[in-house]
Point group: C2
């Protein structure tokens, strides 16, 4: 008898999918889910891919369970220049850290950060930065860390647009994620950034729940607090370096399936995209090229753009993309709007 109920439930679920698909399609005449995208090769690649993988009977059809799409975060979903948002968080945490551990006030690199001298801070070595990251991202309970990040992300603003970082997410990419989800795709973030960090705001910002965020992860240690309550402490022990080859490795660990679509913007996303494209059937691979100095930033060095150490898009990556049919998204030409917050601004004016 419970088989009957299961069938009912399955039918109800199938009915919803049909309703959702019907709504999406009937609406597509009036509403363009991808309205921040200009017509062109990039937008066409997305629409064609989704159409061919979700049309019953198509040779490229994918069962809903196999519809996995992975997105890099920094430079793909939100601004990464002049410096990664998480690094700013870590620098901002230093005064609180020193309040708790006063002995650090005269120890480098904390002393330099406390001085507030931007030129000196910008010159900190990678080793110094790693010390700051370890001191501000580990050593506390996972609960405490979540509270700290939440408070910061809700209030801190960037220095160019004076907006919260979560307002500097790219509207076209948010639309793309929604469009994929409305077509049965499960969207994942696969980021070189901290898994615990991104999970704090991913649901509210991207509609992606914590369990669908794969990122660089330190180990946590189970133990008990003074009152004997179980707790997890963040340890300075790298478990997954989710960048470059670490991205497909992290995808295997955390998802266990090969994505059908992958989106990135830098050399750190190369192996994730190669792994995605190496699967059978139709696959979509796209790279955001930051070629819009006016509305955002311009960096490569691919295609003659200025070189950078933050989110490097090399000529080698550009050539591999061209050769293997990965689609390059030109921020300048393919996006008629950059930030999710622009929409809000326009609406407020009406």
């Amino acid at each position: 008898m419970d088989l009957v109920l299961e069938r009912h439930l399955k039918r109800a679920a199938a009915a919803t999918v049909l309703v959702a698909v019907a709504l999406a399609r009937s609406a597509s005449a009036q509403v363009d889910l991808l309205r921040s995208w200009n017509d062109g090769a990039a937008k066409k690649a997305i629409v064609d891919f989704v159409h061919s993988t979700t049309t019953q009977g198509s040779t490229s059809f994918l069962a809903p369970a196999d519809r996995i799409a992975t997105f890099d975060q920094d430079g793909t979903l939100w601004v990464e220049h002049p410096v990664y948002t998480q690094v700013i968080y870590c620098l901002d945490r230093v005064p609180t850290l020193v309040k708790e551990k006063p002995e650090l006030a005269n120890v480098e690199p904390f002393k330099t950060v406390l001085s507030g001298k931007r030129a000196a801070i910008a010159k900190l070595s990678m080793k110094d930065l790693e010390k700051i990251l370890a001191a501000t991202l580990t050593g506390m309970s996972t609960d405490r860390f979540q509270v700290d990040v939440k408070r910061w992300i809700d209030t801190a603003t960037d220095s160019r647009w004076h907006r919260r970082y979560t307002e500097l997410t790219y509207a076209p990419m948010l639309e793309l994620m929604k469009y994929l989800r409305s077509n049965g795709y499960k969207t994942y973030i696969v980021t070189g950034g901290g898994q615990d960090f991104v999970r704090v705001y991913s649901e509210e910002t991207y509609g992606i729940p914590p369990e669908q965020v794969v990122g660089t992860a330190e180990g946590v240690k189970f133990g008990y607090d003074k009152e004997g309550r179980p707790m997890l402490t963040k340890e300075p022990k790298l478990l997954l370096n989710d960048d470059n080859a670490g991205k497909p490795e992290g995808i295997h660990l955390m998802i266990g399936r090969r994505p059908s679509a992958a989106f990135g913007n830098s050399d750190g996303d190369r192996q994730m995209i190669e792994y995605t494209k190496a699967g059978n059937g139709t696959r979509l691979a796209m790279l955001v090229l930051h070629d819009d100095a006016q509305r955002e930033y311009a960096y490569g060095p691919a295609n003659g753009l200025p070189d950078t150490k933050v989110g490097t898009f090399s000529q080698r990556l550009f050539d591999e993309a061209r050769k293997d049919g990965w689609v390059i998204i030109s921020m300048k030409n393919d996006w008629n709007r950059i930030f999710s917050s622009e929409e809000v601004a326009k609406k407020e004016k009406r």
Copy 2:
């Protein structure tokens, strides 16, 4: 405008949930989803928990996103005696391994396994077993491993019931997982067994997709095969030992949320349950006690049952469960049917 569409989609989704819930409730009068459970404290604890956490307005109400339930596998979802199924897989792989690497034929412990002498195999030390596990679970591509495990799990049978291992899953636990899912819970396996191993059959056997299996995990290494195609190779490098304290640590890594309900059967599940119970609000913790030598096995040593090294349920765990309100499931008294395959047998007879 796409906000209008999103609202529509959300309403459609909400409508389905209502339809599903209504169906589940209207059906509950006639159909008992938990029909392999005898009436008693264990069944009541499940029904009460689900009712209180899914009833709007209840002080224990949980938003669907927070409905996370974690299940140990060995001894909780399927038989673990006399030896873990995955260990049998590894022993069964040895002849193939030696065919590929003939130099192992005269090397211990492979020589003993090849001899087929059960008494000698049973006496292998933990160190010997680890050598066999490493040799049969790592060194190959992830794709190859999946094919090998799939072929084995589809054909190998156990020596007592002569049934495939996936037929020796516990019917009451499968019902419980379905019951939770039909009430909006996301079900996860959190096992000391190999993550890659369990993921091969978890969807078909338990209705749990690979990305919802957390298990002991070795690292994988990204690289390219001779034809230059990207591939992942399983490495003998332990990343997550998903047992004891490793269970809550693995839950944090892979899910990033604290479960609301957790199910286990041995000392290896203690920390997962403590972590689950330490959260706010109503939580459900249950332990399967193997006290049915006739229909399955009897082991503890809790409650005067025979001692064992496979799936130990210590008196200490038993006492902690009693003290902290974890519910103990007696296989003998709480389950009117043990195996999922019994149902099939009955139906075939009709």
